[in-house]
Symmetry: C2
Subunit: 341 residues, 2 copies
């Protein structure tokens, strides 16, 4: 904009002022605050308790004010930011990979859990639990470089479809949780994933899908090694477990990667219980959030008896300690972003 | 500001516009660009090569443009952001801690490296190298909770003084590097520490001193364990090494914590060589920076023969590959922030 060519000084000043109004981020932010930050959440105690917490801890005049640097929010991924039924999505990825590599591994025909994979026996596979699945993933995804692995994940995400919804897995994320992530970030929270899933399985897509940077992902991992291939430095993935980011090791992972106790933690299973306990142990106002899968029609309904994402002890402790529990069926207007189409 | 009470509409619009000029961050940023971003750096090839790189990769019209999400800059700490002579500062911390705990450990009187510590024998201690020092630190800092350890570090930082400069160690950071960190961040780089030092020794102070958040610190660590003390969840530090973030394990640590290859890497010793090689192996324009300690008066002069921060192979490779090498004596107008007083 060249102010010199404007003939009316009044107009020039007006346009000048208007241009700042448009360009100026803080003003836009204030305007946005008057609209609903969680439009896909039904009105009720769950939604209002989230908004009340965020408003209190970000109000400099409140006794519960939390400094920006301390606004750490951690989210489990499977069953919390995206679905985890009829099996962890990373398991479908591993199964497809096993089938792809089966020709090179004739022994897999008789060896579990590979046998169950080759026979599409999800029930047997589920019985191995999250640890078994992570081990399967590790075993089938080592001995390649980190760059090759990233490319394998990206290729799979483009091609693979969820068995029930016939859509790419990254479309089965929860719209209400996307809004919650964005709402927290708009209030200067730093949002992290803290998942039992593989850290390198998540990194290729979480930035685009959740708006969470790659360095804000805590997850399970196998060991890696820096070496040279044809004179070029590479990092090789080794067939050896390094860290399983689940249960009591979620606080360990949080401390190792983030180095600060969260003030907001969100999960959906007993595997998240210690993360919520760790968060609750901080001084001052803290927010512990459980997602309870209660919607057998739009998503799935499961809790205390489920092999996947069991929520049993966590449900009792949430009730005992007054943590907030999302009732998916009652609290969410819609589940997936594609319902907005 | 209430615009209604202003009698002159022209004045009102002017004040309105002016208030946006003051409040509006992007405008202030543009103005700042015209001033020198690295005032403590002498004019010359080193300074101009840094500014040229940053300008090129942040110019959307340049063929070398790098997206904001990829602007990852990694910095070694010891001898690179703060001094490391006459010994790593974390070693002084460990020595003070050994002396404090010596009564409970009579065996230390005859057992190395504790014996050397109790006898203030820096020469023998230095011969153990960085690994030996890390082990000493680990051994003397386990069996307490992470919260207790943080408080121990903070107490030490307040009380301890550097033997030569008689100032707190956190004052012995390099003013030109503080400017470089700030310059990169003003251009939307995310700045990380990638150090052989203990991650939990750095976290309590790097945010305040370097403006680097706690979750952007990669370093060496001991194992930890989530448990309960009097019903309260705590994380205990165990006397077992977990990860030494040095040499070929620097790229491993970068990949584990950051998950993205840096585009800018800065170090001062052979321990940083693989980090610089890893950075250089990325596609597109990359910046590899070595700090050469050449100032025997204002700081220290050492390189190929030094026990601490040896820079030998790195110096050859930098010369061979055209990486930028800071000549501390020639390139820096001043070393420490207190010289500005």
């Amino acid at each position: 904009m060249n102010l010199k060519i404007m003939k009316s000084p009044k107009l020039a000043v007006f346009v000048f002022a208007a241009s700042f109004m448009i360009a100026c981020a803080p003003i836009q932010k204030e305007e946005a605050e008057t609209s609903d930050p969680l439009p896909s959440w039904n009105e009720g105690e769950t939604k209002s308790s989230i908004i009340k917490f965020v408003s209190e801890v970000t109000d400099p005049g409140s006794a519960h004010f939390i400094e920006v640097a301390d606004r750490i929010a951690t989210f489990d991924n499977d069953g919390n930011l995206w679905s985890e039924q009829p099996a962890y999505f990373q398991l479908f990825f591993a199964m497809d990979r096993v089938k792809l590599l089966a020709d090179q591994h004739p022994e897999w025909k008789t060896q579990q859990p590979f046998k169950a994979v080759l026979e599409d026996d999800l029930k047997t596979l589920a019985s191995f639990g999250e640890h078994g699945i992570i081990e399967l993933v590790m075993a089938t995804h080592a001995n390649i470089t980190t760059e090759e692995f990233e490319s394998v994940v990206k290729q799979w995400l483009v091609a693979a479809k969820h068995p029930r919804f016939k859509r790419p897995y990254t479309q089965l994320v929860y719209q209400p949780m996307l809004e919650l992530l964005e709402y927290l970030r708009s209030k200067d929270f730093k949002t992290f994933i803290v998942s039992g899933g593989g850290i390198e399985f998540m990194r290729p897509w979480v930035e685009e899908v959740y708006g969470i940077p790659r360095d804000q992902v805590v997850g399970s991992s196998i060991k890696t090694e820096f070496t040279y291939q044809d004179g070029q430095p590479v990092i090789m993935r080794l067939p050896e477990l390094d860290f399983i980011d689940d249960k009591a090791d979620k606080p360990v992972g949080i401390h190792r990667f983030i180095g600060r106790k969260p003030v907001f933690a969100s999960g959906n299973s007993d595997g998240d219980l210690q993360m919520l306990q760790w968060t609750a142990s901080g001084e001052g106002l803290r927010f512990m959030l459980y997602l309870h899968h209660t919607d057998s029609e739009r998503e799935w309904a499961y809790d205390r008896e489920s092999h996947i994402g069991r929520l049993d002890k966590g449900l009792d402790e949430a009730s005992e300690k007054g943590w907030t529990v999302i009732d998916m069926k009652e609290d969410w207007k819609l589940i997936y972003p594609f319902e907005l189409e």
